[in-house]
C-alpha cells in the first residue's frame, strides 16, 4: 500500500506541474472559481434562469401583456398554471417574460455602471491632481444623497420610465462607489515598480492603463460588478413594487409582486406573488454566490492547495 501510494504521488505531482504551466493568473483564478461548489451551483441556477427567459416564447403561448377581463384572478388551472392577475394576464407568462426585464436591467445597468465607474475611477486614479479632486467631489455629493431617493426623484420627474431610461438612471446614480474602488486600486498600482518599468520603456498612458492597470484591477472590478448586478435586480423589483419602476403592462417580477398590495390577492392568491418573489430571491442568491466565489478566486490568499 505504502509503495503504491509512493509511486502514485510523484506521477500526480508531475501531471499537476505540467498542467499548471502556462496558466496566467487570470486562468488560475478561474480554476479556483471552478472548484467552488457553491459558486458553480449559483452559476448553474443563473444559467437556467437565463435560458428560461430567452426561451420564454417556447415555454408559454400567452402574451404577458394581453389583458383578458373575462379571466380576472383565476385560480391555477391547466390553461393558466399560475392563474391570472387582476387584469386577466397569464401569471406564468408574466413570470417568464418578467425575468427578461429583471435580468436585462440587472445586467445592462451593471455594465453601464461599470463603464462609467471604470472610466471615472481610472482617470481619477491615474492622473490625480485637479481632475481627481473634481471627480472625487462629485462622487462625494452623489454618495451623500441616498441612492434610492435620488433615483426615485429623477424617475418621478420623468413622464414615462422606459427600460433604457431606467438603466441610465441607475448607472448615473450608482457609479460613484465603483469609481472609488477603481481609483483606490489604481492609486496603489501607480506606486508599483512595474508601472515605472513600463514608463522606462516609453509606454504611453493608454498602454499603461489598458495593459498594466486594468488587468491588475480586474479582480475587484468583476467581483463588485457581479454583486452590483444582484443589488440592481433587487432595486428594480423594489421600485416596481411600489409603482415607481417599469410601469404596467410590461411584466417585471417587481410589479408582479405589487399585485399582492391587494389584500385579497395576498390572502387568496399566493400563486400570483410567491413565484416572482422566489424568483427574485433565487436569482439574487445565485448571483451573490457567484460574486463570493469570484472574490475568493481572485484573492490569492484564498488559494489553499
Amino acid at each position: 500500500m505504502q509503495s503504491i501510494s509512493n509511486n502514485e504521488q510523484p506521477a500526480e505531482d508531475m501531471t499537476m506541474d505540467v498542467d499548471r504551466k502556462h496558466r496566467s493568473p487570470f486562468q488560475l483564478s478561474m480554476r479556483r472559481f471552478m472548484r467552488n461548489k457553491l459558486a458553480i451551483a449559483g452559476l448553474v441556477v443563473l444559467t437556467l434562469i437565463v435560458c428560461a427567459s430567452i426561451f420564454a416564447p417556447l415555454l408559454t403561448d400567452y402574451d404577458p401583456e394581453e389583458a383578458n377581463l373575462l379571466m380576472v384572478e383565476q385560480k391555477p388551472s391547466s390553461d393558466h398554471i399560475l392563474g391570472t392577475d387582476s387584469s386577466g394576464r397569464d401569471n406564468f407568462a408574466r413570470l417568464l417574460y418578467g425575468s427578461r426585464i429583471s435580468l436585462t436591467i440587472g445586467f445592462s445597468a451593471m455594465l453601464f455602471t461599470v463603464l462609467i465607474g471604470l472610466i471615472m475611477g481610472a482617470v481619477s486614479g491615474y492622473y490625480g491632481g485637479i481632475i481627481d479632486n473634481i471627480i472625487m467631489r462629485v462622487t462625494d455629493i452623489i454618495l451623500a444623497l441616498p441612492f434610492i431617493v435620488l433615483a426615485m426623484t429623477i424617475m418621478a420627474l420623468l413622464e414615462k420610465v422606459t427600460i433604457g431610461l431606467f438603466i441610465v438612471i441607475i448607472a448615473v446614480t450608482a457609479w460613484p462607489s465603483l469609481a472609488r474602488i477603481v481609483r483606490g486600486t489604481f492609486l496603489s498600482l501607480r506606486e508599483q515598480e512595474f508601472v515605472l518599468g513600463a514608463r522606462a520603456i516609453g509606454a504611453r498612458d493608454s498602454r499603461i492603463i489598458f495593459r498594466h492597470f486594468i488587468p491588475n484591477a480586474i479582480g475587484p472590478i468583476i467581483v463588485n460588478a457581479t454583486l452590483m448586478m444582484a443589488s440592481m435586480i433587487l432595486f428594480e423589483s423594489g421600485l416596481s413594487f411600489i409603482g415607481m419602476g417599469i410601469p404596467q403592462p410590461t411584466p417585471t417580477w417587481g410589479n408582479m409582486i405589487s399585485e399582492a398590495q391587494n389584500i385579497r390577492v395576498l390572502r387568496y392568491h399566493p400563486e400570483a406573488w410567491i413565484p416572482p418573489g422566489l424568483s427574485i430571491l433565487i436569482t439574487v442568491l445565485a448571483i451573490n454566490f457567484i460574486g463570493d466565489g469570484l472574490r475568493d478566486a481572485f484573492d490569492p490568499k484564498s488559494d489553499r492547495r
Binding site: R20, L196, G197, A200, I201, G202, N216
Partner: protein
Amino acid sequence: MTLKTTESSQFEATKEVEKEILIDVQNVKKYFPIKGGVLKRTIGHLKAVDDVSFTIYKGETLGIVGESGSGKSTLGRLLIRLLDPTEGKILFQEADITHLTQRQVRPYRQDMQIVFQDPFASLNSKMSVEQLIEEPLIVQGRLDRNQRKARILEIIEKVGLRPSDRQKYPHEFSGGQRQRISIARALVLKPKFVICDEPVSALDVSIQAQVLNLMKDLQDEFGLTYLFIAHDLSVVKHISERVAVMYLGRLAEIAPKNRLYENPLHPYTKALLSSIPVIDLDEDASKVKREKIKLSGDLPSPANPPSGCTFRTRCPQAHERCAIDRPELREIEEDHFVACHLYDNK
C-alpha cells in the same frame, strides 16, 4: 604589489584612449516639495539629490553606494528621466535630455534602460515572459512580429532562460530567475546604458554572484555602460570600474575602484569600508590596516540637512569649518574626487 601597479596603470592607459563620455551630469538637483497645511501649500523641500555632477564613460561601470535615503535611486531615475530634475543638466551622448517631455524622451528610451531592485514588484504578474520581453519592442516599434520573436529567443538564451519559459508567468519563477527576466526586458532593446538599481539586493546571497556575473558577461557582449546602484561596497567592488559614494543627496567621493578601496579619503567612505565584514586569514596585518570606524546616529533628514558639510554630524574628524562651509567635490589626485575639508590644503 608590482603586479598590481602594472595592472592598474595598464588599465588606466587603455582607458585614457577610449574615454568617451556617455552621460554628463551637471549640478543636478531634485527637490521634492513637502506639502502641508489645509491648503496643501509647499512648506519645504526634501533634497533627494542636491547638486550632483559627474560623468559616466562609455563601456564602464560606475558604482553608486550610499545608505537608504541617500538619494541614489532618485539619481538613477533622474538620469533616464523617469523623474524630472529640479535643476541642472543631463547630457546623454552630448544631447541635452534634461527638459524633454516624456514624448520627446521616448526615442532615447531605446538606449537607456533600468533594472529594478525588487524582481517581484517590477514585473507585471499578469503578463507572460514573452509578453514582458516583447513589450519594449512593441512600444519602440522598430521591428515586425517575426523579428521580435527572433529577438526574444536570442535574448532569452543570453540571460540563461530556456525558450520553453516564454509561455510561463512570473509567479512560476524564483527571484533570481525573475531578475533574469527583468534583465532580458531591459536588454532586448539593445540599449547603450543600463541603470541597475540594486538588482541583486533582494536576492539570496548564493544567487547574487550568478546574476552579477551574468550582468558582467552581458556588458562585455553588448558593450554596455552600467550605473550600478547598491547600498554596500562589497557588491559594487565586484562589478565596477569607478565608484561614487553618496551621502544625503550629495557625492562624497568618486574614484577608480582600486584607489577608493585602497586609499579612501572621505571619512564616510572610510567608515563604509571598515563596515564590510571580511574573513582575513592574515590576522596581524588586518588589525593594523583596518580599524573599525563606527558611525553614530542615523542619517539626518534630507528635508532638513545639517549646515555646511552634511556629514559633519556623524563625522569623527569634523571641525569648525565643516559647520560653516559646504565642501565642494574637488580632484585631489588624478580621477579621485572628494568633498571634504580635510583635504583643503592639497
